[in-house]
Each structure stands twice: as structure tokens, then as C-alpha cells.
């Protein structure tokens, strides 16, 4: 029974490896990837080395620390394999480490620490309330920090770009990083004649537009100039010589 139980980490690693290789949502694959990287390799190694000889807190440190060390070792070894460090090779490599260590534990009969004794938590009603409040407050904090906020004093920007496209074409891009919806005038010219003109280009913040223009011959000098609203001053300017 002890020998069979020694193979449990390998079984768990196999399950984790299979799940992460399936096309599952990131949240699900993360739940299975974390133990495969941070728990099972170190745990299996400690079982092979007689885990029961050390205390619970010691295990809590050594399991993730040795898992990290083994993950690094797996990376250095798998790097020599032609296919390299792919999702599949990571899964197989980490599973192999766990399986090997579990096998050693099974042969040595060193597995089996038993489940920890249930600890009498002794939680009072106030403790439960405190934990619920903590969870709620922390969730609120995380939501707050992950929410992009308005910053009216921030200096906005607009990007004007000009690059060669396929063949003799050019590609002009305008992207707004301004604080509000703006009206622009875009003029693209080549050797004193206008190739393209847009007097009423309106972009909202983060919006962008692209214009492709075919030239009569590749390599002729082209300029693109962007004006803001009705202003006469050049706002942005790019050129291909």
C-alpha cells in the first residue's frame, strides 16, 4: 500500500500535465500548472528522500524551493533536445522528474507521511467576519489597481507614421493617444503635389487609421503632415527620402 501511495505524486503530475496540454481556459490550466511547477517535483523528491523525517514547516519551504530547482534543471536538460522548451516538453520533463522520484520512493518504501492531523482552528464568529472583510477589501483593492483611471493632467500624444508598403505603395498611419476625440487634417505629398488629403480625420482616444497610397514609382520622396483641428502649425511630420 505504501509503495502504491508513493506513485500518487506521479499520478497527480500526469493529470496536471494532460490538463495543461488540453485547450482549456488559462484560469484552469494555471490551476494545474502551478502544482506541476511549484509543488509536485519537490514533493516527490522529498518522498524519495524520506519526507517523513522532517517537520511540516520544513516541508512547506523545501517543496516549492526544490521544485523551482528541479524546474531549472529540467530546462537545462531539455534545452539540449532539438524541439527545445515547448509546452509539451515542459509537461513531459516535469512529469518525468516526478515519476522518477515517485518510483524511487516506491522502491525504497520511503513514502507516506500521512495526512496532517486536523488542527483545531478555534475560529470565533469575529474571526470569520474578519476573514470575510479581508477578502472583500483585498478584492476591492485588486479591482481598483487593475482599473485604468482618467488622468486629466496627462500629456496626450498623436502618432503619425510613414513606411513603405508592398510594391511601390506607402502606408500612412495615424493613432490617437490624446485625452479626447480630436479632428485632424492629414496631407500626404510627393514633390510638390498632393497624393492624399483628408480635411476631416476624427479619432477618438486610442483609435487609429491607416491609409495606403500607391506611388507612380518606388523610392520617390514622400512626406506626410498632420495638422490639429484648424491650426496652421504642423502637429506631426514624417518623410521618406
Amino acid at each position: 500500500m505504501t509503495r502504491l501511495r508513493a506513485l500518487l505524486p506521479a499520478l497527480a503530475a500526469a493529470v496536471c500535465a494532460v490538463v495543461v496540454l488540453l485547450s482549456v481556459p488559462v484560469a484552469v490550466s494555471t490551476i494545474f500548472a502551478v502544482p506541476l511547477v511549484f509543488v509536485l517535483p519537490g514533493y516527490a523528491l522529498l518522498e524519495a528522500l524520506e519526507l517523513r523525517t522532517i517537520g511540516g514547516a520544513q516541508r512547506a519551504v523545501l517543496v516549492p524551493a526544490l521544485s523551482v530547482a528541479l524546474a531549472i534543471a529540467v530546462a537545462l536538460v531539455v534545452d539540449f533536445v532539438p524541439s527545445g522548451l515547448t509546452q509539451r516538453s515542459w509537461a513531459i520533463g516535469l512529469f518525468a522528474v516526478v515519476a522518477a522520484a515517485s518510483g524511487v520512493a516506491a522502491v525504497r518504501g520511503t513514502s507516506g507521511i500521512g495526512l496532517p492531523r486536523p488542527v483545531p482552528l478555534g475560529l470565533h464568529r469575529l474571526d470569520v467576519v474578519a476573514l470575510v472583510v479581508a477578502a472583500a477589501v483585498l478584492t476591492g483593492g485588486v479591482i481598483l489597481v487593475r482599473t485604468p483611471l482618467a488622468a486629466k493632467h496627462a500629456q496626450g500624444y498623436t502618432i503619425l507614421s510613414l513606411v513603405h508598403g508592398r510594391g511601390s505603395s506607402i502606408v500612412v498611419g495615424v493613432q490617437s493617444g490624446e485625452q479626447r476625440k480630436l479632428r485632424y487634417r492629414l496631407v500626404v505629398g510627393a514633390q510638390n503635389h498632393v497624393l492624399y488629403r483628408n480635411q476631416n480625420l476624427i479619432l477618438a482616444p486610442s483609435e487609429r487609421t491607416t491609409v495606403r497610397i500607391s506611388l507612380s514609382r518606388r523610392g520617390q520622396p514622400v512626406t506626410a503632415t498632420l495638422y490639429r483641428g484648424k491650426q496652421k502649425a504642423v502637429y506631426r511630420h514624417v518623410s521618406l527620402r
Binding site: G55, P64, A65, A69, I72, L85, T110, P148
Partner: protein, 619 residues
């Protein structure tokens, strides 16, 4: 995790200076987790205050420093007060140190909720991306050449990202979170083992959190942030190896130390040297003490061989990277001592990981924090000498703690500041052993609650001083990296430029750019962007005219695109990633237009106002 709690508590409690109080003052029937739920709630409230301060800072409406500090203190002080109290049981103390470590880690995570923005993070993230993209280790890094040859952090991150589908940012947060968990747990257990007291273990973590790099620098996605916790775990394992009850445990810890040493060696150069030196010094201390039993001679030999082999076979570029750093620090200290150069003005340096801009209160906290540790150290050291002088491991750690004060002196030398600051997080491990003894010695006459309050107050001052010394005030809080405008999310100018470069120019392009822009390009445009002074891209981009050496330099490095940025902030690798102020006194200082105009004979393919990209191929 709890099956041996009672046994361990009894085993380690016997010889300690802490033990009498601990046994006598513990109320009967105290629950295993004691006040843990309440203190988790206070920590969460503290974090919410930090989050609000960060939000106000991101919206550029207020610096909100007061709210930030209030949040930090609400996280730190109550937990430390409880750790100082005699009443809690071991499991509560252990849990509290975990809560403290992770809550302070979240302070950094809350600062950067959308992506990495620390200079070193934007060096390591491209390494991890390269592993994911090419499926192999050891790529070139245009900013810090040595980093790809220490792939420990990036390997683990790439493993998690590859298996889970998380981004490098998401996976990196988890990896560094695990590292933070490891360092607080391992330090607790190490000091508990050395001093025979769980209370000392808890206080040790509280003291260690007061080092100037704990809240920000050591929480960033950087190789040292993983290597240092692994070093502490190795030292903890050595402590357990010495006290192993049987041969099986001894073998287990031997394997653990060897594996952890290997992991440290492949993760970070300086940390691996520190580990080797620590084992060597402990082995020498054993010899001086006339004892060889339990000396770590074998571990020291293994560490030296592993470090040497890795350096020669894999990471030989490290020598060229580290030598100038130490040479310049050494010369700077010598010149400052001899009076050849003026000492560095504290609190007046350049922006970045510095304390420039600290107000009077901040400066008072920084000086007060050091003073507190300076006062507590001699009492702790005396107590340690009285009770533990036969333990060479404890004595070596105590001496390391003393060296912390030498690093404070070295901060006066201009070129040695960074080296001194970086070494603090290693040497503080020694203070974490000694200072709890000093606290108990000085406060021993106070009754339980008074002692806890006094200890919390003293350590909070030390902690605040550490935070002040560690990171420049304006960058402790979150900055506007992405903002909301017109119902849409707008990235900062540099970030938008990097996205444009990837989308339009494609990956693998070679750029010369300012420090901040280069890091964004390397991270988000899969490009090779050089920056800084080696080669001298900074002067090339700032100079008003195109000097004769500049184009040959760009050709030598096969640069195809020059990214000019008129914002002086773009040359600051800690502050250049965010939106600037539109107007007012905080508005960006700009380089003269000539710094951009000098490239006018080349194709000008991108213009976002401050940032202009030129393509260097002439037609």
C-alpha cells in the same frame, strides 16, 4: 504542515532567551491561529489604503504619500506587534510572517498592475519571451549581456507561462510571489533553529523587512529576487542539516543544499558568490572554533566548483560585466576617504532607486531607522555572544549584520552607492538574527502588551527608514502607465511606440534608443535595442549635432533605426515609461529640438511629438 508543530515548539524553545516569556505569558486555550484573522483584515485594509494612494497617483491628482505611508504602517505595525508578543503559538507566528511577506509584496504588485516597469524587469522579461519564442535558453540581451547566461528565473517563468498560457508578466508575478514566500518562511525557520525560538523567527522576518530593498527592489521580476530566497533556503537547509535527528534527514538536507546551490548558481552571479563565500566563512569559523563536526566544508567546495564551472563554461561575460562595477566602487570609496572626491550628498542624488526628494520626515525616518538598528545591534550582539558564541554559524551571521553599517558608510562614496545598497539585502540576514535579541534584551522588563507596542514602534521606524532609503518618493506610488480617456484605454507614449514598432516594422529589428524606450522595445517589440553609455547611445541621442563618431558607432552595432526622445525622463530607466504632466511645474524637461533635427537626412518614419524614429538607410 502542522503535525510536528508542538514537537518542534518544545524542541527549539528550551535554550532561548525568548523561551521563558513565551511559555509563561501564553494564555491557556489560545487558539492555534490566535489573532491571525484579525491581522489578515488589518493587512488587507492597509493594502486598500495603498491601492487608493496608487490610484490617486495614477490619476495624477495627488502624490498621496501620506495615504501610502498610512497603508504601509497599517500592514506592518500590527503584525510586528503581534510577532513581538509572547502569546502567539508557533503556527500563528509562521502564518503572520507569511502574511507580512506577501502583503508587502502586493505593495509592489499594486504599483505595477498592468505590466513590468522596473528597469531590471524590462531586461529579464525579454529573456523569458525569447525562451518562449525560440524554445531555447541563452539568447543575447542588448541591455545586460550577462543576464541570459543565468536563466534560472526565466526558465521557471517560461515553464509556468508555457504550461498555463499566462503572459510572462502574470507568470513572473507568481514566481516572485513564491520566492517571497520562500524567503520569509526560510528566514523564520533558520532563525528559529539558530536561536531556539519561534518568536525570534517572527521578529527576524520583521527586521529583515526593514532592509531598504525588501518592499520594491527585491519584489521585482529580476534574477536576484529569486536567487536570494533560494540562498536563504539553502542556509536554512544547512541549519537543519546540522541538527538533523537521523541519517535519512541528513541525506535529505544534503541533497537539498546541493540542488539549491545549483539553482542559485544558475540564477544569479552575485548571489552564488555570496552563497559560496558564506559557506567558506562558516567553514573557517568552525576551524577557528576548533570544531569540524557540522562544518560546511563540503558544501563550500561544491559551491566553489559549481560557481567556477558555470562562470567558465557558460557565463564568462559576467567577468566583464561585474569587474567595472566593483572596480569603480572600490576606487570611489578610496577617493572619498582620501578626500580626492567629495562625498555623495545623501538624499540629494539623481532620480531612480535613490532617496532624492525625501522630505524632512522621510530623511528623519531614514536616519532614525538606521539609528534604531545601530542601538539595538550591540545589545543583540552581546546577547548572542553570551549564549550562542559556540555556534560558528550564528557568529558569522552576526558579523554579517555588523557589515550592514559599513554599507551605510559606503553610501557616501558616489560610485559605491549602488553596490552598498545592493549588498544590504544579503547582510541584513545577519541583522535579522542579532536585532531580535537586542529587542528582547532592552525591552525584557516591559510587560507583554507594552513590550509588543514598543517593539512594533521601534521596528516600524526601522522599516519606514528602509523604505525611504530604498526607492525615490515619486516612484514608490503607481504611475500613469495606462490611462482611461473617452471610455478607451490609452497606453503611455513609449509603450505605444513599442507596440507600433512590433506591428509595423516587425520583430528582430535593431534600434538605438533612450534607456526607457530601449527596454520597452526589447520587451514589447521583440527587438534588439541598445541604450545607455556602453556603447554611448545616451550621448549620441542627446547631442545637438551629429558627431563624427556617431554614425560609425551605429553601423558597428548594426543599428537600423534611431529612436529619439526629447523627454529627459526617457533617459531615466526607472521613470521613463509613464505619461508626463501636460503643464505645470512637473511638466517634462525636454532636450533641444536639434537633438532630433540632426538626423533629418534620414527617413523620418514615426513622430509622436516627443518620440521620433529615423530609419538609417539612405536612399
Amino acid at each position: 504542515m502542522t503535525d510536528s508543530v508542538e514537537a518542534t515548539e518544545q524542541r527549539i524553545a528550551a535554550p532561548s532567551v525568548f523561551s521563558g516569556q513565551s511559555a509563561a505569558e501564553r494564555p491557556a486555550g489560545e487558539p492555534v491561529f490566535g489573532r491571525l484573522p484579525l491581522l489578515v483584515a488589518t493587512a488587507a485594509i492597509g493594502l486598500l489604503l495603498v491601492a487608493v494612494a496608487d490610484a490617486r497617483s495614477r490619476s495624477m491628482s495627488s502624490e498621496s504619500q501620506t495615504l501610502f505611508w498610512l497603508g504601509l504602517i497599517v500592514v506592518y505595525a500590527p503584525i510586528v506587534g503581534r510577532l513581538a508578543h509572547a502569546a502567539p503559538r508557533r503556527l500563528e507566528r509562521l502564518s503572520l510572517t507569511v502574511v507580512l511577506g506577501l502583503a508587502l509584496y502586493l505593495v509592489k504588485v499594486f504599483r505595477d498592475p498592468f505590466g513590468f516597469t522596473f528597469a531590471d524587469e524590462l531586461v529579464h522579461a525579454p529573456n523569458a519571451d525569447a525562451i518562449l519564442r525560440t524554445h531555447h535558453l541563452f539568447h543575447a540581451n542588448a541591455i545586460l549581456e550577462a543576464t541570459p547566461y543565468y536563466p534560472g528565473l526565466e526558465s521557471v517563468t517560461a515553464a509556468l507561462a508555457s504550461l498555463s498560457g499566462l503572459t510572462v508578466y502574470g507568470a513572473g508575478l507568481i514566481v516572485i510571489g513564491v520566492a517571497r514566500l520562500l524567503i520569509v518562511l526560510a528566514l523564520f525557520l533558520l532563525v528559529e533553529r539558530l536561536l531556539g525560538s519561534a518568536r525570534a523567527g517572527g521578529l527576524a522576518v520583521a527586521v529583515y523587512a526593514a532592509n531598504s530593498n525588501f518592499v520594491f527592489f527585491s519584489a521585482q521580476f529580476s534574477y536576484e529576487s529569486l536567487a536570494l530566497p533560494l540562498l536563504v533556503v539553502a542556509l536554512f537547509a544547512y541549519g537543519e542539516w546540522r541538527g538533523a535527528p537521523n541519517r535519512a534527514a541528513r541525506i535529505l538536507y544534503t541533497v537539498a543544499i546541493v540542488l539549491l546551490t545549483f539553482a542559485v548558481v544558475t540564477t544569479h552571479h552575485l548571489t552564488s558568490y555570496a552563497l559560496a563565500v558564506t559557506f567558506i566563512v562558516i567553514a573557517i569559523a568552525y576551524r577557528l572554533a576548533g570544531s569540524r563536526h557540522d562544518a560546511p566544508g563540503g558544501f563550500a567546495a561544491f559551491a566553489v566548483v559549481a560557481v567556477g564551472a558555470w562562470l567558465v563554461a557558460v557565463a564568462s561575460t559576467t567577468v566583464g560585466y561585474l569587474t567595472p562595477v566593483f572596480t569603480s566602487a572600490f576606487h570611489s570609496v578610496a577617493q572619498t576617504i582620501s578626500g580626492e572626491s567629495a562625498p555623495r550628498q545623501l538624499f540629494g542624488g539623481k532620480a531612480g532607486s535613490d532617496t532624492s526628494g525625501s522630505g524632512l520626515v522621510g530623511r528623519g525616518a531614514a536616519v532614525g531607522g538606521v539609528a534604531v538598528l545601530l542601538v539595538l545591534y550591540p545589545f543583540g550582539a552581546r546577547e548572542l555572544w553570551r549564549r550562542y558564541r559556540r555556534d560558528p554559524f550564528a557568529v558569522v551571521l552576526a558579523i554579517a549584520g555588523l557589515l550592514v553599517f559599513a554599507t551605510y558608510v559606503a553610501r557616501f562614496a558616489p560610485q559605491a552607492w549602488e553596490t552598498a545598497n545592493r549588498s544590504t539585502e544579503f547582510l541584513f540576514l545577519g541583522l535579522a538574527v542579532v536585532v531580535p535579541l537586542g529587542i528582547v534584551h532592552l525591552g525584557g522588563r516591559l510587560a507583554g502588551n507594552r513590550f509588543a507596542v514598543a517593539a512594533a514602534a521601534v521596528l516600524t521606524l526601522a522599516f519606514a527608514g528602509g523604505v525611504v532609503s530604498g526607492w525615490t518618493p515619486s516612484l514608490r506610488l503607481a504611475q500613469p502607465y495606462e490611462i482611461s480617456a473617452g471610455g478607451n484605454v490609452v497606453p503611455s507614449q513609449g509603450r505605444a511606440m513599442a507596440s507600433w514598432a512590433l506591428r509595423v516594422l516587425g520583430p528582430g529589428r535593431r534600434y538605438a534608443a533612450s534607456d526607457a524606450d530601449a527596454r520597452l522595445l526589447n520587451t514589447y517589440a521583440d527587438s534588439v535595442a541598445i541604450a545607455g553609455r556602453h556603447p554611448d547611445v545616451a550621448d549620441l541621442l542627446k547631442s545637438p549635432t551629429l558627431e563624427s563618431w556617431e554614425l560609425p558607432l551605429l553601423r558597428e552595432h548594426d543599428v537600423r533605426y534611431v529612436v529619439t526622445d526629447r523627454r529627459r525622463r526617457a533617459f531615466d530607466n526607472t521613470a521613463g515609461y509613464f505619461f508626463g504632466f501636460r503643464s505645470g511645474p512637473l511638466r517634462d524637461e525636454r532636450l533641444p529640438k536639434s537633438a532630433v533635427r540632426k538626423f533629418r537626412r534620414f527617413d523620418r518614419i514615426f513622430d509622436s511629438g516627443d518620440i521620433v524614429i529615423f530609419k538609417l538607410v539612405r536612399r
